[in-house]
Amino acid sequence: MTEVMEFWNAFRPALGSALVLVGAVLAVIGTVGVLRFPDFYTRLHAASVTDTAAATLAIVGMALLAPSLAIVVKLAVVWLFLFLTGPTSSHALANAAHTAGLQPMIGRLGEDDGGSQ
């Protein structure tokens, strides 16, 4: 049992840093999507990658790096807030844009226009 704990304690910081790094890279990917996608509604989808996967991975990684339980609790609270408020603000944004009459692009897009216009 002690060997398992020792291995875990040696392995934990590396795993935590790796998860934080993966989360940060996912945030960059989501941002690239926000820059590339053609209209507001599709950008909303790309932004939600940051809100969900990137935030979860980075926070789990930080929890593995955390020196004490108090910090894990705080990270859990941050994660909970993000997951409770994220969809609400996304929905409010989409709803406000739709109510104001912003029409989404429908149908297959791509091939001809590749950049963010």
């Binding site: 840093s17 844009a97 109510t99 104001a100 009459g101 912003l102």
Partner: protein, 206 residues
Amino acid sequence: MTGFEGATLAIDLLNITLLTILFVVAIAIARLRSLFAIVMLSGIYSLVSATWFVALDAVDVAFTEAAVGAGISTALFLGAMVLTSRTAKAEKGATKIVPLLVVIATGAMLIYATIDLPGFGDPNSPANTGVGVDFLERTYPEIAIPNVVTAVLASYRGFDTLGEVGVVFAAGLAVTLLLGFGERSLGATVRREDRESTPNKDETES
């Protein structure tokens, strides 16, 4: 102090990038004419500067900046925007040059003043040798609050803080009265909504 290898380098790079972002946002705020975009960008500005304060170890300032700069002032700017127009007028001629000169002169003076400052975290600087050490030693046994800044603000100079809170409260009250977040604007909104169901003027901006 630093928890990981290479942390100092990363923090230096972080400081430089954050300052660059602040610079870009400030230039954009000065150049843009759409007031809504300016309000959004000023929210981003105070948010990024709050992050920068954290990187500089000034956590309490960062707290204030995040709460007041990014939260309250964005709302107040939006409230003020309703009373004015949507786009700013372009300045012309001398009004463009004079503020720039003033800002450059002030910045030069500030940079000149930093030459005299002691190094960052210097243990022999006046702030760290005089009364500061005394506060650090006595605060926790006397007041039992771990954060020294909070203890000084709320206890040692509590009356001063009380006066400040009174001033801020009066200012907030005055702003609320002037902008009319209360019944007046609510009534106006309801009346306007009866006339037209959805606002359609605002979905795009120039």
